[in-house]
Symmetry: C2
Subunit: 149 residues, 2 copies
Amino acid sequence: MGTVDIPGVMLTPLKSIFHPKGDVFHAMKTGDPGFTGFGEAYFSTVNHGDVKGWKKHRRMTLNLVVPAGEIWFVLHDDRNGSPAKDSFFDVTLSPGNYQRLTIPPGIWVGFKGLGKQLNLLLNLADLEHDPAESENIPLDRIPFDWSRK
Amino acid sequence: MGTVDIPGVMLTPLKSIFHPKGDVFHAMKTGDPGFTGFGEAYFSTVNHGDVKGWKKHRRMTLNLVVPAGEIWFVLHDDRNGSPAKDSFFDVTLSPGNYQRLTIPPGIWVGFKGLGKQLNLLLNLADLEHDPAESENIPLDRIPFDWSRK
């Protein structure tokens, strides 16, 4: 299990198991770091060069894995009282850097598709989707240089 | 929710939501048909033309979705007392035929990669992986014409 500077955000290396007919990739077990319950699993894709964001969940903890392509995640903490207030954290996930990114409620999240083909993330969320518990703001509302990658 | 002929096996159509930057695909919510608890989520891939099988779980219920590629699933029921004893059921899943396949314990499962690129399945299982509760037998132990597709 890795830790990053924003309290509650975690990176956990995951196992991929070679199989000559096709590999197996772990995603999450109930005993794993970052598991806070199961509410819903869904996939999101992001086209090459496109950025989705910013989005913040008020109650949901996200657990993100990238089994195909390459996705650059950028997190921003503007929580009052957080020791990481106003800081950013970013990480690029792919089957080649196969880790689970745990994001607690209250953190702004954006992500960009870096792979030229399918960029796929799975979110194992502890709540069912509920538009009332999330907030979306336009990308330019939190200044960040998305052209860096 | 669809039903098939083997008792306990279910096909449930899932929503995919168009987004200009990349679509979103539902996988499972706790209230969904076929949900019997969350134990582990993992991915399995299967190369073009390869067949993985046969495998039977004694206690695990599988919930399978295919967010990339095209996978042909073949199920065989040899449960004593089942009205479907000795029958087969098969279905091909892909983002174009986006359904969740629920497989109760006690059913033999094999699957073949049909797509030329990544063929990816997600299993949302109600138990953590435990080699003691599953059984593997060679493909030729249950006669089936895998060359049909």
